[in-house]
């Protein structure tokens, strides 16, 4: 694929991600905010595909867009008694929030633009990581392999599931 096609894809995804994220934090109805969040997550999966991380794009779609968003929609439907509308925005909080985020974004953009990155030597041919390498790294216990974090994450997820049931159930 040529560079210009990649650039067009990137700009399209960037427009989707930034536009949808702004709408997600400004939408008055919570259900619409959740829908805009879905578009941000799908756009991020597109970015992973553009970077040739195909497995990560699949995980992003199935865990975030499939799992986390369903949780959000359940929670919104269970907690929106008064017609799915949040109360009007507090005008006093918008100015400091805008100031903080714009100042932070300015600092981050200046820092990124001043930095000269030393790109690593590109991999020849296909840059996609094959599934066997991912599985070996995830299940091995050697150097640069991730069996211990994987198991710890499994225990964390179990604890979180039990804790969520314990917290959310009726007395």
């Amino acid at each position: 694929m040529g560079t210009s096609a990649n650039l067009i894809l990137f700009w399209t995804l960037a427009a989707v991600i930034v536009g949808s994220s702004v709408l997600a934090v400004t939408a008055r109805r919570m259900m619409r905010a959740a829908t805009w969040l879905l578009f941000v997550l799908i756009g991020t999966a597109g970015l992973y595909l553009l970077l040739n991380y195909h497995f990560l794009a699949a995980v992003q779609l199935s865990v975030y867009a499939g799992g986390v968003l369903v949780l959000f929609i359940f929670a919104i439907m269970l907690t929106s008694a008064n017609g799915d509308r949040t109360e009007p925005q507090d005008k006093r909080r918008i100015a400091p929030a805008l100031l903080t985020s714009l100042a932070g974004a300015g600092v981050a953009v200046v820092a990124v633009m001043k930095q000269r990155f030393l790109y690593g030597a590109p991999v020849e041919g296909d840059t996609e990581i094959n599934m066997k390498a991912i599985g070996t790294a995830l299940m091995g216990s050697g150097k640069y392999q991730y069996l211990l974090p994987f198991e710890a994450l499994g225990i964390l997820l179990l604890i979180c599931a039990v804790a969520a049931i314990l917290i959310a159930r009726k007395k």
Partner: protein, 102 residues
């Protein structure tokens, strides 16, 4: 190849949109959605650094992978807490959650 700066500036924009929402919104679920935006920005950064600076390794991808899993666990617990708050107070506005005991 797309310059790396483009990705980093995109994820910085996403991050600070999330920060804006975290401060400005009052609905607890909207705050949680903003946190998800911030986490997404960080995960994009991990992948971009991995792909451009160390293309032979895959540590950044695994960090993103574990980050996604931890974000899912965190969302489950946060939503359980929000449901509990809603059951006790009948709304999820952050201004009403200023006392720990009832």
């Amino acid at each position: 190849m797309i310059p790396m700066h483009y990705y980093l500036i995109l994820s910085a924009a996403l991050f600070f949109v999330g920060v804006y929402g975290f401060i400005a919104r009052k609905n607890l679920l909207a705050v949680l959605i903003s946190v998800e935006l911030v986490l997404n920005a960080v995960e994009i950064n991990f992948c971009v650094f991995n792909r451009y600076l160390y293309p032979q390794q895959m540590e950044g991808m695994f960090f993103s992978l574990f980050g996604i899993a931890i974000a899912a666990a965190e969302t489950a617990v946060a939503i359980a807490i929000i449901m509990n708050i809603y059951r006790n107070l009948q709304n999820i506005d952050v201004r009403h959650i200023d006392s720990l005991k009832h």
